[in-house]
C-alpha cells in the first residue's frame, strides 16, 4: 500500500483539500444564511460570527492552496511531453486523452474549463471572508450584504465544483502516475 510522489500530490490537491473545501463551504454558508437580525439576539450573532469567520477564511485559504498545488505541482505532470519515439502514453495524461477521439473532449472541454474556472473560486471566497471580517457582528444589521455574500460564496463553490468534478473524471480517464 503506497503512493507515488505524483499520486500523493494528486490526492492532496483533489481529495484532501477538496474535502476541506466542502466542509468549510457548509459551515460558512449556514452561518451567512442564518444571519437575520430579527431572528437573532446579539448573543446569537456573536455566537455565529466565529463559525462564519472560520468557514469563510478556511474556504478561501483552501481554495488558494488547491489552485496553487493544482497549477504548479500536478498540472505540469498532466501536460508533460514524451521524448521522441515514445509509444506508451500512460505517463502523459494530456496526450493520452488527445490520442483517442473518444477521450479527447476530456482535455479540450473538461481540462480547458477546469484549469481556468477554478481560479475564480479563491477570489470570490476571499472577498466574502473579508466582508465577514470587516463588519464582524455588525454584519447582522447589514441586511443588504446577506444576499450578495450568499451568491458570491455559492459561486465560489460552483467554480470549485466544476473544477473538482472534471478533475475526478479526468483522473479516472487518465490518471497521473
Amino acid at each position: 500500500m503506497s503512493l507515488t510522489d505524483r499520486e500523493f500530490w494528486a490526492v492532496v490537491h483533489g481529495l484532501i483539500l477538496g474535502t476541506l473545501f466542502l466542509l468549510a463551504f457548509s459551515g460558512g454558508f449556514v452561518g451567512i444564511y442564518s444571519l437575520r437580525e430579527r431572528l437573532l439576539t446579539s448573543e446569537g450573532v456573536a455566537e455565529r460570527l466565529p463559525r462564519m469567520l472560520v468557514g469563510g477564511w478556511a474556504m478561501a485559504i483552501v481554495a488558494w492552496l488547491t489552485v496553487l498545488t493544482g497549477t504548479w505541482i500536478v498540472y505540469p505532470w498532466y501536460r508533460a511531453m514524451p521524448s521522441e519515439g515514445t509509444t506508451d502514453l500512460t505517463a502523459f495524461p494530456r496526450l493520452l486523452l488527445l490520442s483517442e477521439p473518444a477521450t479527447s473532449a476530456w482535455h479540450t472541454f473538461g481540462m480547458e474549463w477546469k484549469e481556468h474556472v477554478a481560479w475564480i473560486a479563491p477570489m470570490l471566497a476571499t472577498s466574502v471572508a473579508f466582508v465577514i471580517l470587516y463588519y464582524g457582528v455588525q454584519l447582522a444589521r447589514r441586511g443588504e450584504w446577506r444576499r450578495p455574500l450568499l451568491v458570491y460564496f455559492t459561486l465560489a463553490f460552483v467554480a470549485a465544483g466544476i473544477a473538482g468534478a472534471f478533475g475526478a473524471f479526468i483522473t479516472k480517464a487518465a490518471p497521473i502516475y
Binding site: W113, W119, M123, L124, S127, V131, Y135, Q138
Partner: protein, 121 residues
Amino acid sequence: MTTQELDVKPNGPAAAAFLAAGIGAFVLGLTVTLHEAFPPVEGQTAFWDFAKNFGLGTGVGPLSGKVISGTLAYIVSFVALGLAWRGREVNLRSVLIVSAVLLALGFALTFPPIFTVFATE
C-alpha cells in the same frame, strides 16, 4: 468603539472586495481569450508562459501567465479600491451590478465553447 460608531462603519472597503473579485475574474477570462486569439508564432514561447519567460515554475505553460495576471488584477484592484474607498460610503447597488457583470464575463470567457470562438487556429 461604541455601538453607535460601529453602526456607521462605511461600506467602501467591503464594496472594494466584491468589485475586485469581478475585476480579477474578468481579467482571467480576458487573458484566456487573448491567448486563443493571438497564439505564439511557431517555435516561439507564448507571451502568457510566465513560467518559462520569468522563471515562475516549470512546465506550467501559458496557464501560468493567465492565472498570475488574473490574481494580480484581483489583489491590485482590491488594495487600490480599498484605499480609495476607505472611510467612504459608496453606492453598493451600482458596485454589485458592475461586479456581477464582470464576474459573468469572467465565467463566460473561461468556458471553452466561448473562448475557442476567438481561436485563430
